[in-house]
């Protein structure tokens, strides 16, 4: 102690406080660095745990895992093709329904709506995003599915029954029901991101088009949308990423059957739903490992999809954080 004070005494006061400040700075930076480092470390750990959990199944099935469709825990035969198919198909249905709706809302809110309407509508749609997935599932089981089974599905079968997509018995829980609930759930995301992208389009684009005599709709299609195109596609892909990983509502509505069916009225299964249903009851290491393999595939797919989306959004709203704040 004395040595320190002796050394400090002859120095001017400012230098002492500077030195102390230096310590403070170092500690401050150290704490923050630990927090910032924790994030990549955790992700690395996540990838490692998934990989090592799936190791057994990867060794046994290799890439055949994603091309075969037998799922038999007793015989320890696992193929995830129906799960991958179900994940892709339910997300595709969701996109087909959600994209026109959310783009319609986004374009209306940025280009046409009176100022007093914009905030409240965007706020209400934001509320949709705040509803937990399991509540969508609950509502789906007791309200949506009964309604679809008695009205919409028979009507679809009557009108489009010539297509294999709309044939066969109507159970209620089905690929189509899951697709519809997914559409409701991803719509707020696509809407808010494409709204941000549209807001980032410079006003001069609109003004130039209007000055050339375009109607307001023509200004949108000829000047605004082309400018924002890649960002809008990014918003859609971001919605796709959400749909691929969505678990609870889909688990509750899709019917949970390891099968590839032509009809949208038939039950199906998704990767996330299979993990949710079977993981805690899995018997045997191979079953658990197969489910971890599914989780690993799902993780890789969503990472790729999200990376593509970010890149596209970034091209339009460069520098701004469009996309990330909506999530």
């Amino acid at each position: 102690m004395t040595a320190v004070s002796e050394r400090e005494l002859p120095r001017p006061a400012t230098s002492v406080s500077l030195e102390r400040a230096n310590y403070g700075d170092r500690i401050f930076k150290l704490l923050l660095t630990v927090a910032a480092l924790a994030v990549p470390v955790l992700l690395g750990f996540l990838v490692y745990e998934l990989w090592s959990g799936a190791d057994l199944a990867i060794q046994r099935f290799g890439l055949d895992f994603i091309t075969t469709s037998v799922w038999d825990p007793v015989a320890e035969q696992f193929g995830a093709l129906p799960l991958i198919f179900g994940t892709l198909l339910s997300s595709l249905i969701a996109l087909i329904i959600a994209v026109p709706l959310s783009l319609g809302v986004a374009i209306y809110l940025t280009e046409f709506a009176p100022k007093s309407v914009r905030q409240p509508v965007a706020f209400l749609i934001g509320l949709l995003a705040a509803i937990p997935s399991v509540v969508y599932g609950l509502w789906g089981i007791f309200v949506l599915v009964p309604a679809l089974r008695t009205t919409a599905f028979p009507l679809l079968r009557k009108l489009f029954g010539f297509l294999p997509l709309f044939q066969g018995p109507i159970y209620g829980p089905s690929m189509l029901a899951a697709g519809i609930i997914l559409a409701i759930m991803i719509m707020p995301y696509i809407m808010s991101v494409s709204r941000e992208v549209l807001l980032a389009v410079p006003n001069t684009q609109r003004e130039a088009s209007l000055a050339l005599g375009a109607t307001r709709w023509e200004a949108v299609t000829s000047a605004v949308i082309p400018y924002a195109r890649s960002g809008i596609i990014g918003a859609i892909i971001l919605g796709l990423g959400r749909a691929l990983g969505e678990t609870m509502a889909v688990t509750m509505l899709i019917g949970n059957r390891h099968e590839i069916a032509a009809s949208l009225f038939a039950p199906g299964y998704t990767m996330a739903a299979a993990i949710a249903n079977e993981f805690s009851e899995a018997v045997g290491d191979m079953h658990i490992s197969a489910l971890a393999y599914v989780a690993f595939v799902l993780f890789m797919v969503t990472v790729l999809v999200n990376a593509a989306a970010r890149l596209l959004i970034w091209r339009v709203a460069r520098g701004s954080s469009a996309g990330s704040s909506a999530l």
Partner: protein
């Protein structure tokens, strides 16, 4: 001139279609909220908030075990997730040129898009598989991991809104960097950071998938984080997919409570911020 009328009609027609889209998009929200109130409110009683569930087939009982469970699990998740998320967010905003900032930001984006069920599998493999029993703590870890990227992003965005002149003024007065950060920069943005934290908490309180095989759920009131524990979202799931009408009414009432919690948290967060900053969304 006929062509001009046609073009204007097309324009108006498209606007009409878009208004239709707005209405269709908002319908599910109203239906869900109305159904929740109609089917859930009647089961809400003092018993519902103070008792554990009645045995299957009997009436009465409540979900106090799930309320306590959600509070504990989410509280623990916030204790783990908020310091890391906020700290990393401050780091990214204060040292924007560092390579670690770039990596952390990128990783946060990846984590943000990771399905919550995958995070659940991770928490299972890390904690449940090594401990050989289900635990609420594993659920908290999964939720914390979901929380970190959200908190990180909002914290960073908020700090970036602080004008540099404020920082320079503090430094010119002789404040060291860390005091400038803490008592000038972060203090100015505190409401924003709190908002981000509340929003993230609201988001994770509704998460079910990561809890399925970590916290697992339970029928009993428990305060032990090292044991399986009930949580509101799990209650909704179990009771909704179960066979008894009494369970279904528990499910609706729990969902109503859950959504009230989520809405109050996120509305509170948004209102708190509106006065100080104008962030879109």
């Amino acid at each position: 001139m006929n062509r001009r009328v046609l073009r204007r009609t097309v324009s108006n027609f498209m606007v009409g279609l878009m208004i239709g889209a707005v209405i269709v998009a908002l319908l599910p929200l109203f239906f869900i909220l109305i159904d929740l109130v109609l089917k859930g409110a009647s089961s809400l009683s003092i018993d519902f908030f103070t008792k554990t569930p009645a045995p299957a087939g009997e009436t009465g009982g409540g979900v106090v075990h799930a309320l306590v469970g959600t509070l504990l699990i989410v509280g623990m998740a916030s204790l783990i997730g908020l310091p890391i998320g906020i700290g990393a967010g401050i780091y990214c905003a204060e040292y924007p040129t560092s390579r670690l900032t770039w990596v952390t930001r990128f990783v946060a984006d990846v984590l943000n898009g990771t399905p919550s069920i995958v995070v659940g599998v991770f928490a299972w493999a890390w904690i449940v598989a090594t401990q050989k029993h289900f635990s609420a703590l594993a659920g908290s870890v999964a939720l914390a991991l979901l929380m970190i990227p959200m908190v990180l992003r909002t914290t960073e965005e908020m700090i970036k809104l602080v004008p540099n002149s404020l920082r320079e003024a503090a430094l010119a007065l002789g404040y060291p960097r860390w005091r400038t950060s803490l008592s000038v920069v972060i203090r100015t943005t505190l409401p924003g950071i709190v908002t981000g934290a509340l929003l993230a908490t609201a988001r994770i309180s509704g998460e079910t998938a990561p809890l399925l095989f970590t916290a697992l759920g339970s029928q009993y009131l428990s305060f032990n984080l090292n044991q399986p524990m009930a949580a509101l979202p799990l209650t909704v799931f179990t009771y909704a997919t179960g066979p008894y009408p009494q369970w279904h009414s528990y499910a609706w009432a729990s969902a109503l409570v859950l959504i009230l919690v989520v809405f109050i948290l996120s509305l509170g967060a948004r209102l708190a911020i509106r006065k100080r900053f104008t962030l879109n969304g």
